[in-house]
């Protein structure tokens, strides 16, 4: 007699494929996730490669009163637009429409105040909710202009302008766009494995807690089928969905990542299709583990809802080691290949760098999840055999 887990497996798979909820999750995470990643990376790259200060547009009202200031602004690559007098509302509209980074308004008595050496007021209008870096540059120019004038005036009185600046600050920024983005993107790569826990979820819950809720589990357990055959059939059906989901997702992500100029943000994706398939293969047990864990947890819940709420917490646990490692900024070490999920994340990150890491990480990644999967399924079988479980069904 052939093993009956195949009959259970076929039936669970057929039922899952007829369930719009489980198919929806599968499609959402295999397609949406890599696409979202692509869009996000595209934005990063776009920001990183945009030339510095490609010309700030500044609207100036009454600029004719200060020709020297205007000349200095133009020298600093700021485009000055002479604008007729505007009221407050009109300035607001101008800023909201992004026609200018800021508006500089020189009141009518500016020239007179300036000539009389009274503080001459200049108004700088900006919209802090939409403004970009432009306003700061304008302020820098204004400050530099002010100190120049002050220096000249002091000099005229026989005082060295150096007396005004006892301390001189020179700024050095060692952070690069690349370094800043690398951390974030490392985290994003780690989340590429999350669908392993999502794609089979619906099937795992439906075939255990759902079956209890619909009161069909007792009938099934009274059939001439061994407990391990029941569990294995349900487990493999859920795992297959997860395996298909994560493999498709990794391939799509690979296609997107290889196509993008990631070098611009200091990231690399030097992965061949062969390597990628190895990563996918090494990640198969992760899906098996995810499905096994979900079955083992969900079978104890009385309803679909209860199982889902418990699992939404349990599912975060495998993510924790990865988060801890990235927060503590630990260097890649061999032990990381012994923790399910973390091992897959580490493997992908190291593979992406393009170096030769040998086969051991692949083998360890494969084995650690396989072992965890076996433990989860063994627990589920033991639990289903127990009399207390039969009574609760």
């Amino acid at each position: 007699m052939t093993s009956k887990f195949r009959i259970v497996f076929r039936k669970e798979l057929r039922e899952s494929l007829r369930d719009r909820r489980s198919l929806g999750l599968l499609a959402l995470f295999t397609l949406m996730y890599p696409l979202l990643l692509g869009v996000l990376l595209h934005q990063w790259i776009d920001r990183a490669t945009r030339p510095e200060r490609e010309g700030i547009v500044l609207a100036v009202i009454g600029g004719a009163q200060a020709p020297t200031l205007m000349a200095q602004l133009k020298q600093k690559n700021i485009t000055v637009h002479d604008t007729p007098p505007l009221d407050e509302a009109a300035i607001g509209d101008l800023l909201r429409a992004h026609k200018a980074a800021a508006v500089l308004r020189l009141p009518g008595k500016y020239a007179a105040d300036y000539a009389a050496m009274r503080p001459a007021r200049i108004e700088l209008w900006y919209d802090s909710s939409t403004e970009q870096d432009g306003r700061r540059d304008v302020e820098d120019v204004l400050n530099a202009y002010g100190s120049n004038i002050a220096g000249a005036r002091l000099l005229a009185h026989g005082v060295s302008p150096a007396a005004l600046s006892p301390v001189q600050v020179q700024r050095y920024d060692t952070g690069t766009t690349a370094a800043r983005s690398a951390g974030v993107i490392g985290g994003i790569l780690g989340f590429l494995f999350f669908p392993a826990f999502i794609c089979g979820l619906s099937a795992a819950v439906d075939s255990t807690a759902g079956e209890r809720e619909r009161r069909s589990l007792e009938v099934l357990m009274a059939q001439p089928v061994r407990t391990w055959e029941l569990v294995a059939g349900k487990w493999l059906a859920a795992a297959l969905l997860a395996i298909v989901g994560i493999t498709l997702e990794l391939m799509l992500a690979h296609a997107i990542l290889s196509w993008m100029p990631l070098e611009e943000i200091g990231m690399s994706w030097r992965v061949s299709w062969g390597r990628l398939l190895l990563v996918c293969l090494a990640s198969v047990p992760l899906s098996l583990f995810a499905a096994g864990m979900q079955i083992a947890v969900a079978m104890n819940a009385r309803s679909f809802k209860e199982a889902q709420s418990v699992l939404s917490i349990v599912m975060l646990v495998p993510m924790l080691p990865g988060l801890a490692v990235s927060m503590l900024e630990l260097k890649t070490a061999s032990w990381m290949y012994l923790v399910p999920m973390l091992s897959n994340q580490t493997l992908l990150r190291e593979t992406a760098k393009g170096g030769d890491i040998g086969f051991l990480p692949f083998v360890l990644t494969f084995l650690c999840s396989a072992l965890a999967a076996w433990a989860a399924v063994a627990f589920a079988v033991w639990r289903m055999k127990s009399e207390r479980y039969v009574l609760a069904v």
């Binding site: 007699m1 009956k4 009959i7 259970v8 039936k11 057929r14 039922e15 007829r18 369930d19 619909r214 009161r215 069909s216 589990l217 007792e218 009938v219 099934l220 357990m221 009274a222 059939q223 001439p224 089928v225 061994r226 009399e387 039969v390 009574l391």
Partner: protein
């Protein structure tokens, strides 16, 4: 033939079965009578080997369900208050699933599904998915599942509940036909009319004990009451019957 002798089962401090003994013969329909909470469900689950008894012996055609549960289950059609239908499968797919689990397959299984559907007058729902089935349709599908693999024994928990007159008749005729074929049918029920019309033997259990076994006429004679329902209440013990 199902033989049980002094079967006891305890859950913690609760004595679910305190000593149940009976014999259900082949070619007989045996009614299992007992108030709610008398231990009927526990008894049925013990008979298919889902629960292990603490004491006593059980033999289904000479096989101990604890020793070889798969052989016993393959020879038992089991219908409890849980119908166990799958909303996303059609009736035929559902029956095919359970047929295959019982080792059937191919054209033999297809033919058997058609036969059972005809016997239970349920051809109209054979290709439909069970979502939205009425109570009567559900119980027919579940009964078809229990009969599918031609078991020699049937354990049925209230097989006619929720059925209209036509369907009830169809089920009763099916059971009578199975009796003719020499099946051993054990049926828990609360419908006394059904017991007097259909059943050859009656087992009365209360509080986990067998109170009486015999033909309906035997029970009436023993209690000295002509009406089976009144005889049942007397056997169970009036107070207990009401409290339980």
């Amino acid at each position: 033939m199902i033989e049980a002798h002094e079967v006891r089962k305890q859950f913690g401090a609760v004595q679910a079965l305190g000593g149940v003994s009976f014999t259900a013969h082949d070619g007989h329909i045996t009614a299992l009578l007992g108030p709610n909470g008398a231990g009927k469900t526990t008894l049925l689950r013990t008979l298919v080997g889902m629960l292990k008894r603490d004491h006593g012996t059980i033999a289904v055609d000479g096989v101990d369900p604890e020793h070889d549960p798969l052989a016993v289950r393959a020879n038992i059609g089991f219908l409890t208050d849980q119908f166990g239908l799958y909303e996303r499968l059609s009736t035929r797919e559902y029956l095919t699933y359970f047929g295959e689990l019982n080792g059937m397959g191919g054209s033999g299984l297809r033919q058997r599904i058609d036969d059972v559907a005809e016997m239970l007058a349920m051809d109209d729902i054979l290709e439909r998915r069970s979502k939205g089935f009425s109570q009567g349709q559900r119980i027919k599908v579940a009964l078809a599942r229990a009969l599918l693999h031609r078991p020699r024994h049937l354990l049925l928990d209230e097989p006619t509940r929720g059925l209209d007159v036509m369907s009830t008749r169809a089920v009763r005729q099916a059971l009578a036909a199975l009796r003719e074929q020499g099946c051993c049918v054990v049926m828990a029920t609360h419908v006394m009319q059904e017991v007097s019309h259909l059943c050859d033997d009656v087992i009365v259990i209360a509080k986990g004990h067998t109170v009486a076994q015999g033909t309906p006429a035997d029970l009436c004679r023993r209690t000295g009451i002509a009406n089976l329902e009144d005889a049942f209440v007397r056997l169970v013990g009036t107070d207990e019957g009401i409290v339980a």
